[in-house]
Symmetry: C2
Subunit: 128 residues, 2 copies
């Protein structure tokens, strides 16, 4: 019975998302617009390079990304979104932003970047 309950909780977490407390995970949301004329190959290289960072940088707790598929089409020029999770603001500041692997990634992407939108937040839950 306990095993079933535990499994049910696990399924709920995976399917429905984690309910975060007042001091929830620290999210780092990065959205890119590439310069006009950036080749598909270069974009794919950048996607791959960003996706390699979690293996190189210990402070990254989780990483997900995708191409913008919003049906609203409010910001079609913003084509990529990456969400990284850290333990805290201190963790991103000390363990990520100045990490050599992150700096190398920034150097790779910079010449091809028209715009980057970056916001961080400590995940709060919805209203109870």
């Amino acid at each position: 019975m306990k095993r079933m309950l535990c499994l049910a909780v696990l399924v709920a977490v995976v399917a429905g998302g984690v309910a975060f407390g007042e001091t929830g995970p620290y999210r780092h949301v990065v959205i890119f617009q590439f310069k006009e004329g950036t080749s598909a190959e270069k974009v794919e290289e950048i996607e791959r390079a960003f996706g390699e960072l979690p293996k190189q940088i210990e402070a990254i707790r989780s990483f997900e990304w995708g191409r913008n598929v919003s049906p609203e089409g409010l910001n079609p020029q913003l084509t990529h979104c990456f969400t990284l999770t850290f333990d805290s603001q201190g963790a991103i500041d000390k363990g990520y932003l100045h990490h050599p692997a992150h700096e190398a990634f920034v150097a790779l992407i910079k010449p091809h970047l028209e715009k980057a939108v970056v916001v961080d937040y400590v995940a709060q839950p919805p209203a109870k």
Copy 2:
């Protein structure tokens, strides 16, 4: 032993984030800049109203939000980020965007909004 293993998996999922497959969850990322002069009370009213939507709109699978605390300070005018999860693009399109509760929220926020950045993505995992 099985219970311990189950607990360990649960802890890993909560702490480290969910590892998403090729058809991962559908994320809807909404970032706001409020008009200059928008009162703190109005901003709090909007935060609360957005946070009420998961109770009113069945299609929302999970919801989290926070104020922008990025130490990089690249977009300080973008003060709020909300991440909603849906089952699919069809689910957000049919079950959320035109839902009366969402439309009422849009009507509430619109007069106070300087800018909204909205991107959706199907969550992909990092490189293996």
